[in-house]
Amino acid sequence: MQDEFRHMIRIARNTQQLIPPDDFTHRVMGRISAPRQNFFFKIKGILSDIPSSWEGKFPQRKITGTDCSLCFLAAGYFYFIMGIVFIFGLKKIHAEMAIPRWIMLQPQFVLITAFAFISLGVLLTKKNILAIRAAYFITLSYIGIVLINGMIAYKFCAIIPISILGTLCLTSAGILMGVFLSTMLRRYHTYFEKVQQI
């Protein structure tokens, strides 16, 4: 192949290199320092990569162990409050009407979730690969459990239209929370591996 095209290849390889402008690096660095103001760019960024856009531009995008741990602790705290509200709320409703047993178990599920997330938040401060893997496994399991729980709860709630809406909202919120936490973990894992390579 080389013999056939040798002449053309020689011309290509002997062509003088083009030189970028002197201030090229300076201009690139200027664009990096100044955040882009383009509204559509931001919208596109939000749509294509929601969690990273929340984190802002690149230097803030990296997820450290502390960030990840804080997210889990916040999620745990949220579920803890939600569990307390559920306990008292369901007790009050139960006094007025019959509630299926599965629904009555929800506060306990929520409190177990709160305990699990708070424990993971503490575990993630250790900055250990095993902690990251354990957290990732538990978070994925959590998404699965939320989905199954939602389907079972839906069967029990089918008789009351408003409770169907409530079940759907809580299930989708739970799944979103799981997706968010697993994304944070994945980013932390990427950052963790990069730092470990040194």
């Binding site: 390889r13 970028p20 660095m29 390579q197």
Partner: protein, 193 residues
């Protein structure tokens, strides 16, 4: 350096030898030392600029696209796998941007000002002939379909190996060879008087 083409200075050996240093540099940037990114830009601006210029044939567009390449690379640096080399990754980003740009802009290609490298042996007449050949080749290159053009540019203007071409274009080694061959064949047809 390629002994057959001593003037090709796109990828000096140190770019490959300093991969560990490059990794360290990337980790520094990831840790928040934004200013260190200037070293990466400085190191690769030449090859990236040339690659894009050979593809677009327009100096102004090249400037914009090359800048955008480095900005995008910076924004996505956290995704970069430090086990791999940075240069092919930068080329892939640059080529993606260039492809999109060329699709939007259509087939408007003006060959960049080609200057054949003069050696001591060349007399002025030979130099003019070589200059004309380089211009003609660049014009024909602009007529190639984008996919073939990028393969030829990477292999012969950038002097990358077939393995590197396949890595950048995300195709198999045999597909890269085939694409380069088809590009050369098409170029030969276009160059024929």
């Amino acid at each position: 350096m390629n002994p057959e083409y001593p003037n090709v200075t796109f990828l000096p050996p140190e770019l490959y030898m300093n991969q560990r240093q490059e990794k360290e540099l990337i980790v520094h940037i990831l840790k928040g030392h934004q200013d260190k990114y200037a070293l990466i830009v400085e190191k690769y601006k030449g090859p990236v600029f040339n690659l894009i210029c050979r593809m677009t044939g327009n100096y102004q567009d090249t400037e914009d696209l090359a800048q955008e390449t480095f900005v995008r690379a910076y924004e996505s640096l956290w995704r970069f796998n430090t086990k791999k080399r940075l240069f092919p990754w930068l080329c892939a980003i640059g080529l993606n941007l260039t492809r999109n740009h060329l699709k939007k802009k259509g087939r408007d290609f003006t060959a960049p000002n080609q200057e054949a490298i003069a050696s001591d042996r060349d007399n002025p007449e030979e130099l003019i002939v070589r200059q004309q050949e380089a211009d003609r080749l660049a014009q024909c290159l602009g007529k190639l379909p984008i996919r073939l053009r990028e393969a030829v540019v990477l292999r012969y203007y950038q002097d990358l190996s077939f393995e590197e071409v396949s890595e950048i274009l995300e195709i198999s080694l045999s597909a890269a060879k085939m694409r380069v061959y088809r590009g050369l064949e098409k170029l030969r047809e276009l160059m024929a008087p």
